[in-house]
Symmetry: none
Subunit: 209 residues, 2 copies
DNA sequence: GGGAATATTCCC
DNA sequence: GGGAATATTCCC
């Protein structure tokens, strides 16, 4: 009773097939994130068992998205059966993380190009959004902390900024390294191309002489 | 029944007092992480209600650490009342994250200098371990975590290291940027070379015909 | 033990 | 919506 999600949890963590050697940008098939599988299954299962009048959540008419008809019931009843929480906002946060769009201001309807009825196999093409780092971001924003203006506040703040900057620098380093790798790959291709061209050319000239 | 942790969840997320402007390395008082509060409370509450013979988990005799006497019961019964899971290994992972040490090979006993019976107020001084990527090799790190090293010295040292790392990261960034520029320049040359070659080749062939 | 990915929460 | 901290999971 207490753990009525325990069975559902079994398919958690399959997402690790994602990370192996082919973690590139390829749109090829991968093991879908647990969140996507659960959300998809939830729609399929609820669609079967519940008649229209008591719909909590369902695919939209075209099957190109889904609608949460009753957020309160969805949160109370559906969410805890599939996830470790019962907060609608956490569910929305995940949708945003995976690039879903809210497509109506009047009802809770969401779409993702690769999330459609009957297309469970496409879920593997949906990826998490990545965060875009720039070295000097957030700390220009921070407005009102309860200013315990002590002598050490300034120092702490300084320290904070330094850590923030370091973190961003590390992110940036990673990105630069990726750029370099891509650059080198392109170089290789160009060189190959060039040498192949030279061979062809020589042969042609030889024949013509 | 199904959500018997719902009340306990109310104190989740108080940890946000942590993140504001003063989230530095300072050993000053902060709002303890939810994990620490829950683990502490769990020991206090269970200690009151359960007689020795059925102990699942308790403080050790000196109150300087705690013992999980029955991991299986602890996982099944205790964990889900305080956390969103019932996996002993996840609990251990959190202990490690917060710097607890397993201090016996014979039983599940854990200690953290700042985690002691009757000292709920010290929990705020326990921080998560941070991951520290390369730039700064381990040889400058202090070995023993348990030094009560005076606050200001530690802070200064930390700040020093941070600035050093920051400097190195910027240097490295510059080098990476140079690499990228070189790479791109080479690319350009290769492309030029290729196009020039193609021209020459065409001319030659034309002449030879 | 700890790295790293995903999940959940809180805040802007 | 999304940034960022903490929590949970899986893997080495």
């Amino acid at each position: 009773m207490a753990n009525n999600y325990s069975v559902l949890e079994l398919n958690l963590g399959l997402g690790n097939n994602n990370v192996g050697g082919h973690a590139g940008q390829s749109p090829r098939q991968r093991c879908p994130a647990p969140f996507l599988l659960k959300t998809y299954d939830l729609l399929e299962e609820l669609g079967e068992n519940i008649e229209d009048s008591t719909k909590i959540v369902s695919w939209n008419a075209e099957g190109t998205g889904f609608v949460v008809w009753s957020p309160s019931e969805f949160s109370e009843l559906t969410l805890p059966r599939y996830f470790k929480h019962n907060n609608f906002s956490s569910f929305i946060r995940q949708l945003n993380t995976y690039g879903f769009k809210k497509i109506s201001s009047k009802r809770w309807e969401f779409k993702h190009e690769k999330f459609q009825r009957g297309c469970r196999h496409m879920l593997g093409e949906i990826t998490r959004k990545k965060c875009e780092p720039s070295v000097f971001p957030a700390y220009l924003k921070s407005s009102s902390e309860e200013n315990n203006a002590t002598s050490s506040t300034e120092e702490n703040n300084d320290h904070q900024l330094l850590m923030e900057e370091n973190k961003n620098l590390k992110k940036e380093r990673l990105e630069l390294q990726v750029q370099i790798d891509e650059c080198k790959a392109l170089e290789m291709k160009l060189l190959e191309c060039l040498s192949q061209f030279m061979d062809t050319h020589q042969n042609k000239v030889r024949r013509l002489c």
